[in-house]
Point group: C2
Chain length 325, copies 2
C-alpha cells in the first residue's frame, strides 16, 4: 500500500503507550494524535495530544482509531460514540460480555458504514484463533488454555482492594503436571485448582495485619478460593524493585489420539515480558485489516475469526505466497 | 449448516487414507467416493471406490474434491483437470513452485467459477499462517521455522535411490541450541548446519557396501552435504519394526526485543505421530471454507492466507464469539 494509514489513539494508559511504541516499528502508519480525557499538558510524550472532547473534529483525518480504554468501564462507553464516526479496533477482554458488546457495536458501525474490529490482542485474540484451529482440526478433543506465568491485573486489583493492603501483585502460574496430562492426550477433566496456582506479593500497611489479609485473600470466592494460593508479604522497596513489571503469556494446547492410535499435538505459546506492549503490537498489525476491510466497503463489527490473515500484513498476496507459504 | 458437504477423494495414498479417516470424525461431511488411477477392486476400504477416469460423471454430486496426489507429479497434472469441474483443496508442498502452481490453478478456477484452495496442511499450511503472524506482529524480527523431529519423505527417497540401498528413512532433527538462540531474542543468522541435523537408518543389500553408501549420502549436495549427517546401517527386521512410522512436526518461533527492552516470544509447535493423517485433518477442516466460499460465489485459487478462520469451523459466528473468543 502506498498511502500511509492515518491513525489515532484513544486513551493513553499501558495499551495506548504500547500502540504508540509499536507504530514506530511499522512504517505504513502515521499517528495523527493521542486523545485523552486528561489535561493534554500533563501527558508525557512527543506525539500530539488532543482532548478527547475534540475527537469528532478529526473525523476525516483518521482511517483507524485504536481504542485503548479499559474494558470494564471505558470501552462500553467510548466505543459506541467513536464507532459512529471512525473505523475502530480494540482489545475488549471481558469474555462473558463479548457477545453483547459485539452486538451493540455492530448496530452502530452498520449505521455509520464503519468497521469495528473488537477483542483483538492475545486473549481474546491469538489464543482465540488457536482454540478455533484446535477445535476445527480435532473436533472431538478439547482445547486447553493455560495462562502464565504472568500478572493478572484483575486478581492484583482484587487484592489491592482489601483493607490494609498498600501494594499487591498476583501471578498466575500454570501447573506443569496439568499441561503434561493435556500433552499426553488423555483429554483430562481439570478443575481450576489442577490447572493453575496463584501467588501474591503484598505490601501491607501494617505487618501485624498479615494473618487477616492472607485469610481474606485465600477465601475470596471466584478469585482465590478455588485455587492453591500462596501469599508473600514484602516491603515496599522489594515490591517496587522486583514486582512492577507486567509479564504474561500462556499456552493453548490440544492433543488428539486418532482411530489409528496416533497421537498428534498442536501447541501455541506466548512468553511476554510486557503484556500490554505485545497486545498493542497485535492491534497495530490487525489495524491494517480494519483499513482494508473499510476500503472494501465492509461495515459492522468483526472479530479475529472474520478476517483473512493476509489483511494484517503490509505485503501483497503475491509476496506472501512466494515468501511465507 | 444443515446440509452435509458432499466430498470426494482423488488418490488413495497416505493423505487420501488420512482424509477418509478424518471425515469419520466430522459429521457434517458425506464421502461420495474415492477416485483412483488403480483398479478399484485392489483398493482395501469400505468406502466406494471409483476409477478416476469416471470422475467427471460426478460433477454435480460433489461439493469439494480432496486432491491427495503427490506434489511432484500428480497435482500439477490432476489439479488443472479437476479444478475445471470441481471445487478443490490440496496439500501442494513444492514451496518454490507454489506461485506458478497458484497462477495456473487460479486461471482455470476463475474460468470454471470454482474455488481451489491450495497448499493446505501444516507446512505449507499452519506453519505459513504462523510465519505471517510473526512477521506482522514483529515486523523487524525474523520468523524461524524448525522441522522435526520427523521423517522427511524427500530425503528418505533420495537415500533410497542410492545403489545398494534396500530400505531407508531419514529423520530431520532440530538443534536445541539453535532454538534456544532464537528464543533468547538475538535474531541469529543460522546456517543449515546450525539449525538441523540429519539421521539416516539404512538397510543395505550388502553389508560390505556400507562405506560407499555412507559416503554417497554424506556428500549428496542440497540434501545432506550442508548438514551434520549420521548414518546407521540396520537389518531389515529392525527397520520394519522401528522405522516404518511417519512422525513429523516442528516449531515456528519469533522473538522480539522491543525499544523498551522487553522480550516477547511467539511459538507454535506441532508434534505428530502421523504426518499425513494430521495434514488430512487440516484439509478436512479447511474444506468447509472451500464450500462456504463457493456458496458465496467466490472463484479462483486461494491460499490459507485468504480465508477467515471462522469458515473452517462448523459452528456459527455467534457460537464462536460466545465459546471461543
Ligand atoms: N485482548 C487482550 O489480549 C488484552 C491484553 C491486555 C489488555 N487488554 C485490555 O486492554 C485494556 C486497557 O489496558 P491498560 O493496561 O492500557 O489499562 P490502563 O493503563 O488502566 O488504561 C486505561 C485508561 O485509563 C486512563 N489512564 C491511564 N493511565 C492513567 C493515569 N495515570 N491517570 C488517570 N487515568 C489514566 C487512560 O485514559 P485517558 O488517557 O483518557 O485518561 C486509559 O485509556 C484493559 O482493560 C484490558 O481489557 C486486552
Ligand atoms: N502441506 C503439508 O503440510 C503436507 C504434509 C504432508 C504431505 N503433503 C503432500 O501430500 C502429498 C501426498 O502425500 P502421500 O503421502 O499421500 O503420497 P503417496 O502415499 O505417495 O500417494 C500419492 C498418490 O500415489 C498413488 N498411490 C498411493 N499408494 C499407492 C500404491 N501402493 N501403489 C500405486 N500407487 C499408489 C495414489 O494415487 P492413486 O490412488 O490414483 O493410485 C496417491 O494419490 C505429498 O506429495 C506431499 O506433497 C503436504
Amino acid at each position: 500500500m502506498d498511502k500511509k494509514i492515518r491513525v489515532g489513539i484513544v486513551g493513553y494508559g499501558n495499551l495506548g503507550k504500547g500502540v504508540e511504541l509499536a507504530l514506530r516499528e511499522n512504517k505504513d502508519f502515521v499517528l495523527k494524535g493521542i486523545f485523552t480525557r486528561r489535561d493534554p499538558s500533563l501527558i508525557d510524550t512527543d506525539s500530539k495530544v488532543i482532548p478527547l472532547s475534540k475527537v469528532l473534529d478529526y473525523k476525516d483525518e483518521i482511517d483507524v482509531m485504536f481504542l485503548c480504554g479499559g474494558s470494564a468501564n471505558d470501552l462500553p462507553q467510548q466505543c459506541p460514540i467513536l464507532a459512529a464516526c471512525f473505523n475502530t479496533i480494540d482489545a475488549y477482554d471481558n469474555h462473558s460480555k463479548i457477545p453483547d458488546y459485539f452486538n451493540m457495536v455492530d448496530d452502530i458501525a452498520k449505521d455509520s458504514n464503519k468497521v469495528s474490529l473488537i477483542s483483538i490482542g492475545w486473549d481474546p485474540g491469538l489464543f482465540s484463533l488457536n482454540r478455533l484451529l484446535n477445535q476445527a482440526i480435532f473436533p472431538n478433543r478439547q482445547s486447553y488454555t493455560f495462562w502464565g506465568e504472568g500478572v493478572s491485573q484483575g486478581h492484583s486489583e482484587a487484592v489491592r482492594k482489601i483493607k490494609g493492603v498498600k501494594y499487591a501483585v498476583q501471578y498466575t502460574i500454570p501447573l506443569e503436571e496439568a499441561m503434561e496430562k493435556v500433552r499426553s492426550g488423555n483429554n483430562p477433566q481439570l478443575t481450576s485448582r489442577e490447572k493453575h496456582k496463584r501467588v501474591c506479593y503484598v505490601v501491607p500497611l501494617d505487618f501485624n495485619d498479615t494473618n487477616r489479609i492472607e485469610e481474606e485473600i485465600k477465601t475470596m470466592p471466584d478469585y482465590f478460593a478455588e485455587y492453591d494460593t500462596t501469599v508473600h508479604f514484602i516491603t515496599e522497596e522489594e515490591f517496587l524493585k522486583n514486582h512492577s513489571k507486567m509479564p504474561h503469556g500462556g499456552f493453548v494446547i490440544s492433543t488428539d489420539i486418532n482411530k489409528n492410535n496416533h497421537k498428534q499435538r498442536i501447541e501455541f505459546n506466548l512468553s511476554l515480558e510486557n503484556n500490554p506492549e505485545f497486545t498493542a503490537a497485535v492491534l497495530v498489525a490487525f489495524a491494517r485489516g480494519v483499513y482494508r476491510m473499510s476500503l472494501e466497503g465492509k461495515k459492522g463489527a468483526f472479530s479475529i475469526f472474520d478476517i483473512p490473515l493476509s489483511y494484517i500484513s503490509p505485503k501483497s498476496n503475491e509476496e506472501l505466497r512466494k515468501e511465507l507459504l
